[in-house]
Symmetry: C2
Subunit: 222 residues, 2 copies
């Protein structure tokens, strides 16, 4: 593996955008950071020739994304237990700002997104399945897997785990202010960015939570 | 159209979920509200037999979703100018909470999502194109279309507008606390919901914004 390949993913025909190529990135660290900053992806697959896009949780371990679901769910059934697996596209998007230009045309969004093309395959190795499920929980709330009851045999049997290798991957990132045309700069419209972020409220205890159990530190840190 | 059909979308084979059917909704008002509360969707389509999922902006006018992009972009080119159009799946997801159960298995997410199956067709009527572009801007920032320079002929020519009719549509919604097993209630793990929301920061003016242009009311309201 060359130094370039180690630092980034190899671009392919479908990861090189036709538009705004300057916003594309194949940098491994950048892509991992975008993936690690969210936990809900949009999973695309093809069913009866038509596209299907469903939101679902994911976790990352090194160069592998893990997804999970009921063994009865459609994509999980489609992925089967064996090769060739299910062709998927996994997309993660953070919205960072609304970009208001003087012209309607130059309105935009600041965002960071990652698109993963690959084959989803069922994980059958029990140790990998357990590690993947821990990663899924910890991806949403770091530290939580160790502070919950692990899945028992029946729950494990009901849960399918898919893996998608991070190989054909790209990020697309827009930052900064509006790109207005020079002749529009004198127009009387306000122009700039409205920052957008995900925020967390105060933890709401379950109705049946026993008294005396404090809110864990991994939640208050958020 | 029956009273039922008027109040909701007709379920189809692909909009009836195989799992958690109690979370599904076909109610028109519910679905419109979910669509109107966001502006970034994940657009899925099939290219060379494989799924592609890209984030993109959308707007809604009645029973039509509008998407737009450069005339050079892949999905816009694929949708062509004529029938049969491009089969797409448009998915919108709000994350409302992280649900922490005592058991790893029962961890979940509170969310509201809408999945639209349909055919994306290029809009060629100029009046509809203009109205759609206004709707796209106003969907992100209500009131903004009227407070910006409209697209000129060159910009209009560079912009493709797609329409997807809202016909085969469903929502999926999870609310409430964790659903722990009765035998897990005495475990010492904190259990409950961490609320999640999208939040907006203070507007950041463009570097080249002329002095004296106030932040518009439609932004400060946010």
């Amino acid at each position: 593996m060359s130094a370039t390949a180690a630092a980034g993913y190899e671009p392919t025909g479908r990861t090189v955008p036709t538009r705004s190529a300057d916003r594309a990135s194949y940098d491994r660290e950048t892509i991992h950071a975008i993936l690690d900053a969210d936990y809900v992806c949009h999973l695309g697959f093809v069913r009866d020739g038509a596209p299907v896009v469903l939101p679902t949780l994911y976790g990352r371990v090194g160069e592998t994304l893990y997804l999970h679901g009921s063994t009865g769910s459609r994509p999980l059934r489609a992925a089967g237990q064996e090769d060739p697996g299910l062709p998927v596209c996994v997309t993660v998007t953070h919205v960072d700002g609304l970009v208001l230009a003087r012209s309607a045309f130059h309105h935009s969004i600041n965002y960071r997104s990652v698109v993963v093309h690959g084959i989803a395959r069922r994980v059958t190795d029990e140790a990998e399945r357990r590690a993947a499920l821990d990663a899924l929980v910890d991806h949403v709330v770091p530290g939580r897997a160790a502070d919950s009851r692990p899945a028992d045999a029946k729950e494990l049997a009901a849960t399918a785990v898919l893996r998608v290798d991070l190989a054909e991957v790209s990020a697309k990132i827009r930052t900064g202010g509006p790109n207005d045309e020079p002749e529009d700069l004198a127009l009387p419209h306000w122009s700039g960015v409205l920052p957008v972020a995900r925020s967390y409220g105060a933890p709401v205890p379950a109705d049946d939570l026993a008294p005396g159990i404090p809110v864990p530190g991994y939640l208050t840190a958020r």
